[in-house]
Symmetry: C2
Subunit: 497 residues, 2 copies
Amino acid sequence: MTYQNLDDLNQTLHSLDHALSVLSVDEAVNMPEGGGEARAEALATLAGMRHERAADPKVRDWIEEARKEDLTEDQRLALEEFDRVYTNLICLPAEFVRRKTEITTRTEQAWRAMRPANDWKGFEKELRKVIDLAREEAGLRSAATGLSPYDALMDQFDPGNRVDNVTPVFTRLKAFLKDFLPEVLAAQAERHHKRPLKKVIGPFPKANQKALAEAVMPVVGFDFTHGRLDESHHPFCGGVPTDVRMTTRYTEHEFLTSLLAVLHETGHAQYEQGLERLSAHWPHTQARGMGMHESQSLFVEMQIARSPEFWQWARVYVDQHIGTHALEDLDVEDIMAIVNLVEPGFIRVDADEVTYPLHVILRYELENGLVGGNLQVSDIPELWDAKMREYLGISTIDNPKDGPMQDVHWSAGLFGYFPSYTLGALMAAQQWAAMEKANPGARQQIAEGNFTRINDWRRDNIWRQGSRFSTPEIMRRATGEPLNADYFINHLKKRYL
Amino acid sequence: MTYQNLDDLNQTLHSLDHALSVLSVDEAVNMPEGGGEARAEALATLAGMRHERAADPKVRDWIEEARKEDLTEDQRLALEEFDRVYTNLICLPAEFVRRKTEITTRTEQAWRAMRPANDWKGFEKELRKVIDLAREEAGLRSAATGLSPYDALMDQFDPGNRVDNVTPVFTRLKAFLKDFLPEVLAAQAERHHKRPLKKVIGPFPKANQKALAEAVMPVVGFDFTHGRLDESHHPFCGGVPTDVRMTTRYTEHEFLTSLLAVLHETGHAQYEQGLERLSAHWPHTQARGMGMHESQSLFVEMQIARSPEFWQWARVYVDQHIGTHALEDLDVEDIMAIVNLVEPGFIRVDADEVTYPLHVILRYELENGLVGGNLQVSDIPELWDAKMREYLGISTIDNPKDGPMQDVHWSAGLFGYFPSYTLGALMAAQQWAAMEKANPGARQQIAEGNFTRINDWRRDNIWRQGSRFSTPEIMRRATGEPLNADYFINHLKKRYL
């Protein structure tokens, strides 16, 4: 049976992915400095071996032959998802991939050097080449998939996401947020006036923060028999589903930021740990995509961990592992004021829940223009500034390093990736609403530290769905309707007004 | 050029080895329990890919063709060592390898179950199959290499070791030790009478012991930019030369055992870290073999770390990292009495420097008989007991679990491996003598914590030689003469009488 050839191939690829993943985690967490060169070489060789096998032209024949075989419904889904992955894998010629690697590596280096110098003009020359690449790549992907160019880029990160569906949702969200933000800031000022914003005052030793994280994580749903928590410079969630490696970093003067980051990564980790174990080597059982992944991290961080009910429960853990002094003078309302503080700013990664989507929508609008060709690299600074002033009331025109030069994504050739962040936030809110409808006691359960029913819903409706369906289809099946910004909007209104 | 094909192949194998090695370290040090199954699967798949590429029949043609090419002297050495490795790799048919894996896996399981029950009769039935395998393997290896059967087995672990050279050395050593051991025990009793053996009394917290290890290691010569120290159940030295992963374990009631184990592994680590970096993917630059490796660990543990000069220097580090209470009432002579205590016992891995070789020689003598066919499995218990009584004055006849059932090696199908332990001890003593001849201040340098010249000698004469020559040839080049038991014997006399 030809299906068996594909099964064997997936087993091989899965083992190589296992190695690549664990080696990368080890590099970030454990590897001494001098191990870097040999590690990079090993990773490159293994990645090359993976590509060589995965992109073998005979795989196309296997897919076509397997289609004619007597397959179960699950095997049929597996085959279709495998086909989609294969098509996306082989649609770029080797020459293009080499050229892209070369140009984006150089542009990333340029970005690293020129950003501190605020040198947009120097950077613009390099970025122009990357935009040309992005247009070329979008064309190649479009030709292979039959999607429009920008859709073909988005489809890599969340299969099924389309401009035709995303743009109306973003338009509605933007219109709402532009009015909502001033209201939130006024309401927040009013609250701070009545009740000044408090501070948690350290030092909070690292060992205590780690103990707190390791006490909270398993209750929320992290399985320590299939994962661990380490430290790294940039927090991430890596490893493999049976052995998820989460990392965080700690600063001793403050503990809430690290704890919330741990809970964010816990959401990612639960998704991986909750995937189906059978056929784990086939793509259709793997996590759906970047936006769906972000919906899981934001479900825990935003829907659960920044809620008052969470802190009714969690503060006992803080008392126990950090000490009663940590939150001594703060009640839950004070904690809410700290963890849900809204402050418009330049930098996306530092943004709060309310302003974050505006950063993303700005990039989405620019990317559509850049990839579509009706916007040039030289237009970016003015347009960025105009949008920042319109959306957040702040200007970046004299400060490109905190404007269009703030992210590495474009230098790295990542286009179509930004929307997933905000789509993840919208999906998380919509999932919460659907889950709460089926489980109306959810908020009370959180206050009691009982996450079982909440996680059961997520496991059935999201984790176990793997990549069997497109991102929008998983959402429709899980929540009974297409993506709808209302849930996120209502969530914001309830939390911030 | 065909040589280039081999270079590419070695690069691929090297990257796979890198992955296998780091994944194995991660498994022992970091992996949560639930990650085991997927890890085992990934390791097996990668090992299979490695074997498939390494044992490709066309490699034989490449070797023959490359021989006719215009090669540098180093490339010629590289090619010959590669040929040796290839010959050893392909000489076992796949069917045999599968059968061996199956039988040894089952025998190891039987050993684990039957050893606690002291069930020699039950175990004997299983072991008989492994001995049959060992004879068959020795025959296959002998046919492929032209060596005698037992030489062909030893050659896997230390290329160039031959019964004709090892037996006379072991015979001389055994004769010496049989007389020497009672003398040592008498002299030791005399010393203890005059000056009772002292004890170090804990608890010594793990964090302090780790700090002590990490302070001593770099001075002795471990490079922390190319390695790290972790914890694992069984201490080992793994990883790759640019990123050596050493492990140890700590018990809080005692710190000397762990520190000496760390220093033992440091010797292994220095060998790996000191290998040539150019052509690191070719076998001729890699560590020579098991006995040579053991010579490096024993050089540090036995020649350096159990000497009085070492403790003149190291006790300040103990005071600083463990506390002055740790060695408060002990002078260097007391420490020597503790770390060099001689006590004949049943168990090889617990044996001291004096009795250890007798355990090894016993196994070497039995293995020669078992592989050669003039000894049967049923003969083992009586012969083991007779030799133990003769060499160490203790009987194991009623206690096979601490006699022939104490080690897993034979169950695992490892024959020809034991001699390397003692050859390592002999080589370390001979290397020390040669080094000290060139650097007569070596003992004084240790007392001052200055290991530069000692390590320079090891780097030039051992580490940088890689696998360019056979084990005996590296010894001859390094010390000016063939393996000679006198150096070890003189070392023992000096230390223990």
